[in-house]
């Protein structure tokens, strides 16, 4: 896949009258697995929504490959920029393969709805997420972890070079969290897709991401490699949690240990 740059330039983001971020600028390194971290309501999902063009900035712009995304056609953009929303709704009675196939929408035209390309992309996505065996099952009958893998497969079937993930591990138990994060890592490394994920768990972000953006009350406090961002000073500054940061013996990435309050 070609190099895709995603940048926020001087964004002011707001819902109605409530301003979330002002004059925010940052960039997502090409081919990175970028994690956006920060306390609740710090504006990390808002930033992701702006990247996905679900929220139009009041000022500033989001630039993909040197072009403002606001100037792109809806379907054209959807072939380059994918999103796994925080919550999606499964239509009543839909089956797994059918749901994954919905991810092909931006590649389809009114009279061209199921080309060999579509079928191949759906098969690839389902293979990568290991849901081929569930193919004919009803989505309603799946477990939480299986369902999340199916949603990821739908986002993968869209075959976009950049994929945005809004809290993809929330509502999953630890086993499924690891499973999904491992999946993202392999998508990132093997397919060379750029991933941007809003994550809650600092240690998971440090372990799986290659680039971390730390936010607090709508502003970016630090951005860079996990080792540069996950430090006691920055973590305390961002989350107000005094901590030690040690070397994760398993992955050699920073590991946050909150201090005991006496």
């Amino acid at each position: 896949m070609t190099d895709h740059t995603l940048e926020a330039q001087g964004l002011t983001l707001a819902y109605d009258k409530r301003v979330i971020s002002e004059d925010l600028s940052t960039h997502v390194p090409v081919g990175s697995f970028t994690a956006i971290i920060g306390p609740n309501a710090c504006g990390k999902s808002t930033l992701l929504r702006a990247f996905a063009r679900l929220l139009s900035p009041r000022a500033g712009r989001v630039v993909l490959d040197g072009r403002d995304i606001a100037s792109r056609g809806a379907k054209e953009l959807a072939r380059e920029l994918g999103l796994l929303p925080q919550t999606s709704l499964a239509p009543d009675g839909i089956r797994v393969a059918d749901l994954v196939a919905r991810g092909r929408f931006p590649h389809q035209r009114v009279f061209d709805r199921w080309s060999p390309d579509d079928e191949a992309a759906v098969l690839r996505a389902m293979t990568a997420t290991d849901v081929l065996d569930l193919s004919g099952r009803l989505v309603d009958e799946l477990s939480g972890g299986q369902r999340q893998r199916v949603w990821v497969a739908m986002a993968l079937a869209q075959e976009t070079p950049v994929l945005l993930l809004d809290e993809p591990t929330t509502f999953l138990d630890i086993a499924h969290q690891i499973e999904v994060l491992e999946l993202f890592r392999s998508i990132n490394l093997e397919d060379g897709r750029t991933l941007v994920a809003v994550l809650h768990d600092l240690n998971q972000a440090a372990r799986y991401a290659s680039h971390i953006i730390a936010m607090r009350s709508g502003s970016i406090v630090a951005a860079g490699a996990p080792a540069d961002v996950i430090t006691p000073e920055i973590v305390e500054d961002v989350f107000s949690v005094p901590c030690r940061v040690i070397d994760d013996p398993e992955s050699r990435t920073p590991l946050v240990i909150p201090l005991v309050r006496r």
Binding site: T87, L89, R95, R102, F105, R113, W114, D118, V122, Q158
Partner: protein, 345 residues
């Protein structure tokens, strides 16, 4: 390697640049519905005050037979049958579109006040403007339906009009319009009130070719437009965020679908008066027959045609209006649906 979709599917790729998945179950269901419709159609043409044999009906349709049978079948009963089929199709599509939009089996145009609005339009034209001409009443009902849709849409709008709010607001608007309709009827002399009230009962009995032609033209114009909203509507059922991430302009699709749904339901009210419950019931029956997600417009349309034709045959037999039959049958379904939704939640 091919994909297991959990049900038999045929892939149709007639030439490069066009490709479709065709659900085999849907093909079978549609074939059965068409057969049932054909049988019902023959029954509808044969029975009445004068019963005819199937042979006489076929002879009359193909230009043979005696003069009396020809008059009965071709001039009197055929337009009524065609109306039943056309209205059934239009109502079912309106229902399927709105139920898909609201993601709720209760979200059909008769429940959310569009029928009441169309009827108000007709009543206003008759009583206030003072015209009893068919074209004027039809136009009034169309405008009434559109205005009501606009009102419901605006009242339910808060960063996009969402499904359940649309239904609640719609039910409230429907109730207000119903009392407004009664108020208008109380103010006028009994003679005029009777004309308007008979329109309000929803009847196909008095309709002939003169009314069929404009209705059929409207239907033929509207049907191809469905191609544009069918798959975006199915995509919208994933939720706004996912749909928009797939390159769909959610609000534009919703507005287009609302306009189209209102148009389908209004042309029926314009022609025959409000015929309730076909829009509510047909898409749900189609959904259960198909066991597939999405608005399934074709199957819904055929189901609607079968339902309304059957209701009209019954209405013909016991000499009541078609609307009365659908209200009675649909009312029972509505109660069942409410109980089921209540138990679920």
């Amino acid at each position: 390697m091919s994909l297991d979709l959990g049900r038999p599917v045929a892939v149709w790729r007639p030439r490069t640049g066009a490709s479709h998945r065709v659900d085999r179950r849907a093909l079978v269901v549609c074939a059965v519905l068409v057969s049932v419709l054909l049988v019902l159609g023959c029954v509808s043409l044969a029975v009445g005050t004068y019963h005819l044999s199937l042979g006489e009906v076929v002879a009359a349709l193909t230009g043979g037979g005696d003069r009396r049978a020809h008059t009965l079948v071709v001039e009197w009963r055929l337009p009524r049958l065609l109306f039943a089929i056309g209205c059934g199709i239009a109502l079912a599509i309106a229902g399927a579109v709105f139920q898909s939009l609201t993601r709720n089996p209760l979200g059909s145009p008769d429940v959310i006040g569009l029928d009441a609005g169309s009827y108000t339009g007709a009543v206003v034209v008759t009583l206030i403007i003072g015209s009893t001409r068919y074209a004027d009443i039809a136009l009034g009902s169309l405008v009434g339906g559109l205005l009501t849709a606009a009102l419901v849409y605006v009242l339910a709008y808060r960063r996009g009009a969402q499904g359940f709010r649309l239904i609640i607001v719609g039910i409230a608007v429907a109730a207000m319009l119903a009392s407004f309709n009664s108020y208008l009827l109380m103010r006028v002399d009994p003679q005029t009130a009777l004309i308007v009230a008979s329109w309000g009962a929803g009847s196909l009995a008095s309709l002939g070719y003169a009314q069929l032609v404009p209705f059929a033209v409207a239907l033929v114009v509207l049907l191809p437009l469905l191609v544009l909203v069918a798959s975006p509507l199915a995509q919208l059922e994933l939720g706004d965020d996912a749909a928009r991430a797939h390159g769909l302009r959610a609000e534009r699709v919703r507005l287009g679908a609302v306009l189209l749904g209102v148009a389908f339901s209004s042309i029926v009210t314009a022609a025959a008066g409000p015929i309730a419950f076909v829009a509510l019931v047909a898409p749900q029956i189609a959904h259960r027959l198909l066991r597939a997600p999405g608005p399934s417009l074709v199957t819904s349309a055929l189901t609607g045609a079968v339902l309304l034709t059957a209701a009209d045959v019954v209405a013909q037999q016991i000499a009541v209006s078609t609307g009365l039959v659908t209200v009675t049958l649909g009312g029972l379904y509505f109660i069942w649906l409410l109980i089921r939704e209540y138990r679920r939640s």
